[in-house]
């Protein structure tokens, strides 16, 4: 068993606005302006998604997911298979997307022998990313 117990690069905590007195019992780390600029940043508009979708499925190649604002919050979109998930935050949208992709995988697998060419193409793309776990 391997254990990682230290950061290679300094763990930097950023605080927007001017430094303010710490209110907890412990003294707060006060980052410099440069550290704030380095770390206090917007998240990227896309992500490589490799979280577990379903107990029976494993991602072998991560999905490229784009984030877009939606009426209810955030949409996480996989352009490759034209599927999306929505949620109040990016992570909730990713959770919803994961469920959607898993359901799509199983439904296409079930109907594998009677898929239209378009759906067969979607299934081929999904199976490039996902494999079933043998039990």
């Amino acid at each position: 068993m391997a254990t990682i117990s230290a950061f290679d690069e300094d763990y930097a905590a950023a605080m927007p606005g001017p430094p303010q007195p710490a209110t907890s019992a412990v003294r707060a780390y006060q980052p410099s302006d440069a550290e704030v600029r380095k770390v206090f940043q917007r998240q990227p508009d896309q992500i490589q998604y490799g979280a577990r979708l379903h107990p029976d499925l494993r991602i072998v190649i991560p999905f490229r997911v784009l984030f877009e604002k939606s009426a209810t919050g955030v949409a996480a979109v996989v352009p490759e298979v034209s599927e999306y998930g929505v949620g109040a935050s990016r992570s909730e949208a990713l959770d919803d997307l994961g469920r959607t992709l898993a359901e799509l995988y199983f439904s296409l697998e079930r109907d594998e022998h009677r898929l239209s060419p378009d759906l067969a193409s979607v299934r081929a793309k999904l199976t490039a990313h996902l494999v079933r776990i043998d039990r």
């Binding site: 068993m1 391997a2 254990t3 990682i4 117990s5 230290a6 950061f7 290679d8 690069e9 300094d10 763990y11 930097a12 905590a13 950023a14 605080m15 927007p16 606005g17 303010q20 710490a22 209110t23 907890s24 412990v26 003294r27 707060a28 780390y29 980052p31 770390v39 206090f40 940043q41 917007r42 998240q43 992500i47 490589q48 998604y49 490799g50 979280a51 577990r52 494993r58 991602i59 072998v60 190649i61 991560p62 935050s89 990016r90 992570s91 990713l94």
Partner: protein
Amino acid sequence: MEEQAAIPSLLALLLSDYVIVEAGTNKKTIVGVFDNLWAAEVPTARQIGLFARMTDMEGSYGFTIKVVQLDADDEPVVAGGKMSPVNVTDRLQTVDVALNLPMTVFPQFGRYEFQLFSNDVYLGRAIVNVCKQEVQA
């Protein structure tokens, strides 16, 4: 072309007061697992222990932690860091990340996520709510 490392299966991701790694046996003790933090005022700073266990790995892995403020526009990253790469050869082996993070500053009340990435691939998250503690007169 260099072969891409297998994507890890994340078995656990926990936030706690601190994590103790026993020398020799490499056993971990995770003290005070929580998902709510209480503070009278913000910003507040806390030391946090983070524990993650993964398996199904083969290749070289660099891990990143990002702390994201959920209740703010564009979900800014308020803290984060990278770990040294680790090589894994046995797919059945488990790999633990056991960190006592330096002070993390939470600028406002609300929800924050500790996100774990492996080779820039998102693996999962743990959520913490920073709640207002009413001060008794």
